[in-house]
Amino acid sequence: MKRFIKKIFYYLLGLMILLLTNLTFNIIKSNSEELKIKKSSVVIIGDSHPLKAIDPNLFINANNICQGAENYIISYWKLKKILSLYTPDTIIIGFSNHNISEFNDIKFYEKKYASTMFKRVFLIQDFKSLKKLNNNFKINKKEYYTFILKYFCLYPKFNHIHFIGTYENSKISEITNAEERANRHFYNDDTDLSYDFSKTNISYLDSIIFTCKKNNIVPILVQAPVHKSYYNLIPEKNKNKYEFLKEKYSNYLINFDEINYPDSLFYDSDHLNEYGAKLFTKKLINTMNKNK
C-alpha cells in the first residue's frame, strides 16, 4: 500500500510541477498583458445585436467591441477597463427588449454559457460587487474554478484578453429562427414560463450611464432593429417594462421604432446582415449628427 501511494505521489508530483509551471507563467503573463485597443472617440458595447447592426467602419473614428451574449454586467466591467486606459467621447450601448430579460442572469450559471463567459471576464470581473448588489445572483462557482484551473494550468498561453469583440457580419438572410430566438431570450427552458426582467442587469445599465456621465462621456442607447416575426413573440410583460425604461432613459435613447426593414436586410430574425448594418449605421450616424 505504501509503495502504491508513494508511486502515485511521484506521478502526481511530476504533474503538479508541470501544472504549477504553467500556472505561474500564465499568471505572470496575464497580469503583465496590456490591453491593446484602438483609442477611438466612439466605442460600441453590447451583445450580438449592436455587434451585427453597427458597422464602425462607417464612423470617422469608432470601435465596435461587442461580443455575442454579453450582458450589461460584462459591458460595465469592460467600460471600467477601457476607462483605465483612456476616455472616449461617446459610448453606444445596445438596448433591446431581450437585454432587460432575466435570461441575462443565467450567463454566469448555466453550463452552456458559463465557461465562455468566465473566459471573457476573468481579468475584469468583479463578482464581489455583483454579489453585494444582489446576494441571490447565481454564479456557478464549480464551473468557475474548473475553468480557472484548466485555463491557467494546462499549457502556457500568450494571449489572455478575450473580452474585446469586433464587428463581423455576412450577406446571409435566413429569417426562420424567430421562435427559437424568442424562446431563448424570453422563456425559461425549465419552467416554460416567460422570464421576468432582470433588476441586476438594469442596475448595471444605470451604472454604465452614471459612469459615462461622471467621465463626461455621451452615452447613447440604441435599439437595433429586429424582424417582426421575432418582435411579435416577445411577451407583453417584457414589452411594457421596456417601454417604461425607454421613458426613463429618453435623454440617452435614439428611438428607431419607425424602422421596418425588409427581410433581405436581416441576417436572421433578430440580427441585421451586412446590408442592413450599412443602412442602419448610416441612419444612426445621421441621427447622432442631428442631435449634436
Binding site: M1, R3, F4, K7, I8, Y11, G14, L15, L18, S115, K142, E143, T146, F147, K150, C153, L154, Y155
Partner: protein, 482 residues
C-alpha cells in the same frame, strides 16, 4: 454519480483510502463499507430509486435461501418465478410501460379505433437493466444448483450494489463475483496499478474520444436532412467511435475501480472494432451481456443444436431480446434484427467460430485479407449503429436512404477546423494504442513490461493532460439509459 465528474474524483480516492486503512481487517467491515459507499454513489443521482435496488436485494436474498432449502420441484419453480416476476416486473414497468402503451394505442388507431390511455410519467432508474440481470442470474443459478445461495446478507448486498459496475455493468455472475465478497481482500500493488492504468484509459476513451465525437455525431444526426452523403457517413462513423469510447470507457473505469478494491470483474470489451466478422464482433462487444443471453436464453432454447430452422430462430430471438434490452424503441429491435441478419449466414456456413484468436497475433500488422475483413465488419457495424442512434425508424431509414442517394450538393455540416483535426488525430491515437494492446485485457495492460519507461511516462502525462483539457462537460454515459 458520474465517473467523469469532480464528485467522483473526490469520492474514489476517499473511499479507496478509507477502505484500505480503516476497513481492511474484516470481511464484514469491508462489505458494509462497500454497501454504504455504493448506496451513496447510486443515491447521488436519485436517492428515491435506492428502494428499487433494496427490493431486488431483499427478494433475491430470501428466495435464494428458500431455493437452497426446498427440495420440492413445484415450490422451487414458484420461487424462481417470483424472483423473475419481481425483477422483470420492475424493469418492465419502469422501462417498457410507455412503449407498450404507445404501441397499443397505435395498433388500435390502425384498426380505426382510438383509445384514450395516458402515457405514464416515469423516470428510468439508472442502470436498472444491469442490476436486474445480475440478481436474476443469481436466483437462476441457485435454482439450477450451479451455485449455493449465500446466507451472508452483507456480502449479497455488496455483490448486488457494488458501485463500480452497478449502473452500466459489466453484468457480473454470482459465480464469479459473490465468492470474492465472502473472503477478505488483501491489497495488491500490481492489481491496483493495473486498475489505475485501466481507469486512465477508460477516462481517455470517455472524456477525450466519446464526448468529442458526440459533438459531431449530434450535429449530423440532429440535422441529417441537411447533410450530404459524406456528412452522413462521417456522422455515423463519429457515433461508432462515440458509443465505443463511451461504453467501453465506462467498463474500463468500472473494472479498474473494482481492481483498486481487490475485485476482479469480467472483461467486457475485447477490441471489437478489430473483428474480422460479425460473430467475432459479438464475442468482443459487451461480452457480459452477450454471455448472459447465451447462458440464460440461447442455450435453454436449444442453442446451436437441432435443425437449421431452430438455430435461425434461436439466433433471431437472442438478437431481438438483446435489442429490446437496450431500450423501449423499435430502432433497438431492428438494430438487433439487423445484427441477426449479419450473423445468420456465418452460422449456416459454419463460419461463426472461424476467428476466435486475436487478429494478427504474431504480427505487427494484419494481412490484406484480415484488413479487408476488418473494414467490412466495421462498415457493417457503422450501418447498424445508425439504427441505434436514430430517434425512430423513420429517421433511421431516411438517414440510410440519404446516404445512398448521394445529395452531394448539400454541405457536410462539419467544417474542417482545428477541433476536427484534433479529434481525428485522437481517434488515430486510440486505434494505435488499442492495436498495440489488442492481445491483452485492456490497452494499457502490462505496459510497464511492454513499453520503455520514458515512453510510458510520456504517454501517461499526455493522456492525463488530454483528460484535463477536455474534462468539464460531464456528459452522461449512453448506457446509463439502458
Amino acid at each position: 454519480m458520474l465517473f467523469n465528474s469532480i464528485d467522483f474524483a473526490i469520492f474514489l480516492p476517499l473511499t479507496f483510502i478509507l477502505f484500505w486503512t480503516l476497513f481492511y481487517k474484516k470481511t464484514i467491515l469491508q462489505n458494509v463499507f462497500l454497501t454504504t459507499v455504493s448506496f451513496i454513489f447510486y443515491g447521488w443521482w436519485d436517492w428515491r430509486f435506492l428502494s428499487l435496488i433494496t427490493i431486488s436485494i431483499i427478494v433475491d436474498y430470501l428466495i435464494g435461501i428458500l431455493l437452497n432449502n426446498r427440495k420440492g420441484k413445484l415450490i422451487r419453480k414458484i420461487l424462481l418465478a417470483t424472483s423473475i416476476g419481481v425483477n422483470l416486473g420492475l424493469l418492465a414497468y419502469f422501462k417498457y410501460a410507455n412503449f407498450f402503451i404507445d404501441n397499443f394505442i397505435d395498433a388500435f388507431s390502425l384498426l380505426g379505433k382510438s383509445i384514450d390511455i395516458q402515457s405514464i410519467n416515469l423516470i428510468l432508474p439508472v442502470g436498472i437493466s444491469f442490476y436486474t440481470f445480475q440478481t436474476l442470474s443469481y436466483t437462476i443459478d441457485v435454482y439450477n444448483k450451479k451455485i449455493n445461495a449465500t446466507n451472508n446478507f452483507f456480502a449479497f448486498t455488496a455483490f448486488v450494489s457494488f458501485f463500480p459496475q452497478l449502473v452500466a455493468g459489466p453484468i457480473e455472475r454470482a459465480k464469479n463475483l459473490l465468492p470474492q465478497f465472502l473472503q477478505t481482500r488483501r491489497f495488491n500493488f500490481n492489481t491496483s496499478r493495473d486498475g489505475l492504468q485501466q481507469i486512465l484509459w477508460g477516462m481517455f476513451k470517455k472524456i477525450v474520444i466519446a464526448d468529442n465525437c458526440a459533438y459531431y455525431a449530434n450535429t449530423i444526426f440532429n440535422n441529417y436532412t441537411e447533410a450530404s452523403s459524406v456528412g452522413l457517413i462521417i456522422g455515423a462513423i463519429f457515433f461508432t467511435f462515440q458509443i465505443y469510447g463511451d461504453f467501453s470507457g465506462y467498463s474500463d473505469i468500472a473494472i479498474g475501480t473494482a481492481k483498486l478494491f481487490g475485485f476482479k470483474l469480467k472483461q467486457n470489451f475485447a477490441f471489437p472494432y478489430f473483428s474480422r466478422d460479425i460473430a467475432e464482433f459479438w464475442r468482443r462487444w459487451h461480452i457480459s451481456l452477450s454471455s448472459w443471453f447465451k447462458d440464460y436464453v440461447y442455450i435453454p432454447l436449444g442453442g446451436s443444436k437441432g435443425s437449421v430452422f431452430k438455430k435461425i430462430r434461436n439466433v433471431f430471438i437472442i438478437f431481438l431480446v438483446s435489442g429490446f434490452w437496450h431500450g423501449a424503441n423499435w430502432t433497438f429491435i431492428f438494430w438487433g434484427i439487423l445484427n441477426a441478419i449479419y450473423f445468420i449466414p456465418l452460422m449456416i456456413l459454419k463460419r461463426n467460430r472461424h476467428n476466435t484468436e486475436v487478429i494478427a497475433k504474431y504480427q505487427n500488422m494484419p494481412n490484406i485479407k484480415e484488413f479487408l475483413n476488418m473494414i467490412t465488419t466495421f462498415s457493417l457495424t457503422v450501418l447498424a449503429w445508425i439504427l441505434f442512434r436514430s430517434k425512430n425508424m423513420y429517421e433511421a431509414t431516411d438517414y440510410i436512404y440519404n446516404i445512398f442517394i448521394f445529395p452531394l450538393a448539400k454541405p457536410t455540416l462539419i467544417s474542417i477546423d482545428i477541433k476536427l483535426i484534433a479529434i481525428t488525430c485522437l481517434i488515430i491515437f486510440l486505434i494505435i494504442i488499442e492495436w498495440n494492446g489488442r492481445a491483452f485485457e485492456h490497452a494499457l495492460k502490462d505496459i510497464n513490461k511492454r513499453w520503455n519507461k520514458w515512453i510510458r511516462i510520456t504517454t501517461y502525462y499526455t493522456i492525463v493532460m488530454l483528460i484535463l483539457y477536455y474534462f468539464g462537460k460531464e456528459e452522461e454515459f449512453i448506457y446509463f439509459q439502458f
